[in-house]
């Protein structure tokens, strides 16, 4: 039994929205980070779905790129978070507002 494509896409959209809301409302930098991962994987799901739907491998190929970029991002992002924590002793994104104009 195959689940029809719209269901995959709906799941992707739900995951993306969840991740987005997480980025917008959560205060912990780590949770924000996880939410971003959720968004990325939602996009991955959409890529795979469309690739299967249209019978091409472009989308699946792109997923690997996204995975690699996400991995790199995790490394750099976590490093930044650790650095921020060292400097400011917090990972609350609301306490880090150095860009305030």
């Amino acid at each position: 039994m195959t689940v029809p494509a719209p269901y995959h896409l709906a799941l992707s959209a739900v995951l993306f929205t969840l991740g987005m809301v997480g980025v917008l409302v959560r205060r912990s930098a780590l949770v924000v980070f996880m939410s971003i991962e959720v968004m990325l994987n939602a996009v991955n799901l959409a890529f795979v779905t469309f690739a299967r739907l249209r019978g091409v491998v472009d989308g699946q190929l792109l997923v690997f790129f996204v995975l690699v970029v996400a991995a790199v991002e995790v490394v750099i992002g976590l490093a930044i978070i650790v650095d921020v924590f060292r400097a400011m002793e917090t990972v609350d994104v609301d306490d880090v507002d150095l860009l305030r104009g």
Binding site: L24, V93, D94, V96, L98, G101
Partner: protein, 633 residues
């Protein structure tokens, strides 16, 4: 051909004197400075005399413009831009040679006089350098062959006038008077400059020969172009020759050394306006309305300045007003078309007014620089020769026959009568006033009680100063012979007529009963003036006068006050306001723009909260907007 060489030498010799004394005068001895300066002018005068001899001898060349013998000496092309070509050109003709002789002769005498007068002044070399530069400029002015080239000399003499008035520059009054002279004459020179432009528009050139030749063809009689050109040039002449309403600088110019007053502000520079009008008489004759105005301005200036001289307490300033008044006569003459009469009076005035100034200078020399007549008196006994010289000049100025002033003034008055009777009446009235004021000056200075008592050691001037005075006195006595005889035009007039076109000069005079009556009338008025002056200022038997009128006169009808209130004050205020407004309005507008940009930046600062989620939300909104755009398209 000797003429081009001589014509070039006349202005360049004094120029060389200027360069020598100006650059190395500080290292020369006093004697060397004097020899260089006087030698340069003497050589120039000799060259001018040779020029006279040459043009009487040489046949007129073919390229002479219509109307008389003239020689053109082209030096080089000065300014050129397309059709605008201004060559540096000298024009040698009877008029320019006659002027060069007057300038050179009087100039030489005054140079010699200056050697004695300026003896002991530390700025002697500078003085003679300026004086030589003046001679060069004035020679250039009278010899120039086109208006633009003449403008070099025209402004050059103005510069020297400024430099020499402000010669004792540490005296604030002298410095201010120099600036005033320069600025007022420059105001008139704006007219001269615009006149040059109009001439370029009409004739395509400012060459005197071409303008004279083409005036009839290019300028409609009484037309707008002719009138504009004549009036613009007259504005320049009125500034330089101190006519109403631009006369205000000349009385103040008396702050300069007295020989300067004699040379520049009596005999030569101030007559440049008259000379220029005579030089361009062909143009001026095409504008009768302008000519009427010139005559009227001349007549009114003559009587106005004579009246102002009546109450002036300063001896030199009396002579300055007298000069303004006599220049008025000259403009009256040229305004009624009596060009050679104007030049005749210019010449005789140069003699007797220079004489009067030199005598006044001798008085100042004797009294240690005093010019206020209220502190003089009784000098006749101490300075008998100076007194005699001044008396000769005064009688000539008053128009007593047979001195030169009588002949030239009478000639002008009879020409004026022929033109318009009211001009004659004003002229005669001014002549009466002239007699009164010069008698007053003579009486206050030389007659009456000796106010200085025994303290004075005043004595007649040394020979180097006396000799020029006596030569000028001789010229004053004999000068009448240049221009007047009973039946036919005089020597000067005939000489000039070869240069002034037929019809430009006055026709041979009618003579007869009318003429005699006019002469008698003017002599009578002059004598009456002297008698009145004698009664008032010497016998003091006729007293009174109207205080209000005296007040009006001593303020010169409040013309200078009107300038101060009506022109200088507003301009100064405007400049101050503009200077402040430049900061508070123009600059403030720019700075305001800068501040507005800064403020808009401040306003946008609020968007940068520094909260990560806000940035993320912005990104989201942006993505949604782009999506919405794509979907809706």
């Amino acid at each position: 051909m000797l003429i081009p060489v001589l014509a070039v030498l006349v202005p360049t010799l004094p120029l060389a004197g200027w360069a020598l004394n100006g650059l190395w005068g500080g290292r020369f001895t006093r004697r060397t400075v004097a020899i260089v300066a006087c030698g340069a002018v003497a050589a120039a005068f000799a060259a001018a005399a040779l020029l006279l001899w040459q043009i009487r001898l040489a046949p007129p060349p073919g390229r002479a413009p219509a109307g008389g013998p003239s020689w053109i000496v082209d030096l080089y092309s000065w300014i050129g831009a397309g059709s605008i070509q201004v060559p540096l050109r000298l024009l040698v003709d009877p008029l320019s040679v006659a002027m060069a002789l007057v300038v050179g002769g009087v100039g030489l005498l005054i140079h010699v006089y200056s050697v004695g007068y300026m003896d002991g002044d530390p700025g002697c070399a500078r003085y003679f350098a300026y004086l030589n530069l003046f001679m060069a400029s004035m020679f250039w002015l009278v010899l120039a062959g086109n208006l633009a080239a003449m403008f070099i000399g025209w402004e050059g003499v103005g510069l020297c006038s400024y430099l020499l008035i402000a010669f004792w520059f540490t005296r604030p009054a002298a410095a201010a008077a120099g600036v005033k002279a320069f600025l007022v004459t420059r105001l008139g020179d704006v007219g001269f400059l615009l006149g040059i432009f109009v001439a370029f528009g009409v004739f395509g050139t400012t060459d005197f020969g071409v303008m004279t030749r083409d005036a009839g063809a290019r300028l409609a009689l009484g037309g707008g172009a002719a009138t504009a050109l004549a009036l613009l040039l007259f504005a320049g002449a009125a500034g330089k020759s101190a006519q109403l309403p631009l006369y205000v600088w000349l009385p103040d110019a008396m702050e300069g050394p007295t020989p300067v007053s004699a040379l520049i502000h009596a005999a030569t520079m101030v007559t440049a306006g008259v000379y220029m009008i005579v030089r361009l008489h062909a143009v001026f004759l095409r504008a009768p309305a302008a000519m009427d105005l010139i005559a009227a301005v001349g007549a009114v200036t003559a009587i106005f300045a004579a009246a102002a001289a009546l109450v002036e307490p300063d001896l030199k300033r009396v002579l300055a007003y007298s000069t303004i008044s006599q220049l008025g006569y000259m403009f009256l003459a040229v305004g009624v078309g009596a060009f050679s009469a104007g030049i005749f009076h210019l010449t005789s005035h140069a003699f007797f007014k220079a004489l009067l100034f030199l005598a006044a200078g001798a008085v100042m020399h004797a009294l240690g620089g005093e010019t206020d007549m209220r502190r003089m008196g009784g000098l006749a006994r101490r300075l008998p020769r100076t007194t005699a010289a001044f008396a000769i000049g005064a009688l000539a100025l008053a128009g007593i026959p047979p001195l030169s002033g009588f002949f030239s003034k009478d000639l002008i008055l009879s020409e004026a009568f022929r033109a318009q009777a009211w001009l004659w009446a004003v002229g005669v009235a001014a002549a009466g006033l002239t007699a009164v004021y010069i008698l007053r000056a003579f009486a206050l200075t030389f007659l009456g009680a000796d106010l200085r008592g025994a303290e004075g050691t005043a004595h007649d001037p040394p020979p180097s100063m006396a000799a020029p005075m006596w030569i000028l006195a001789g010229l004053t006595v004999a000068g009448g012979g240049l221009g007047w005889s009973f039946t036919h035009p005089g020597i000067l007039e005939r000489f000039l007529l070869t240069g002034l076109r037929a019809g430009a000069g006055p026709p041979a005079r009618a003579g007869g009963a009318g003429e005699g009556t006019l002469v008698a009338a003017s002599v009578l008025v002059a004598v009456a003036g002297i008698v009145v002056g004698w009664l008032v200022y010497v016998r003091r038997s006729l007293r009174g006068g109207v205080p209000a009128l005296a007040g009006l006169l001593s303020h010169r009808f409040y013309i200078e006050e009107a300038y101060a209130v009506g022109v200088i004050g507003p301009v100064r205020a405007l400049a101050r306001v503009a200077a402040v407004a430049d900061r508070t309005v123009t600059d403030a507008a720019v700075m305001g723009l800068a501040r507005a940009l800064g403020r808009s930046g401040q306003a946008l600062r609020g968007l940068e909260t520094g909260y990560l989620r806000h940035y993320a939300a912005f990104v989201l909104v942006g993505v949604l907007l782009i999506l919405a755009y794509w979907v809706s398209r």
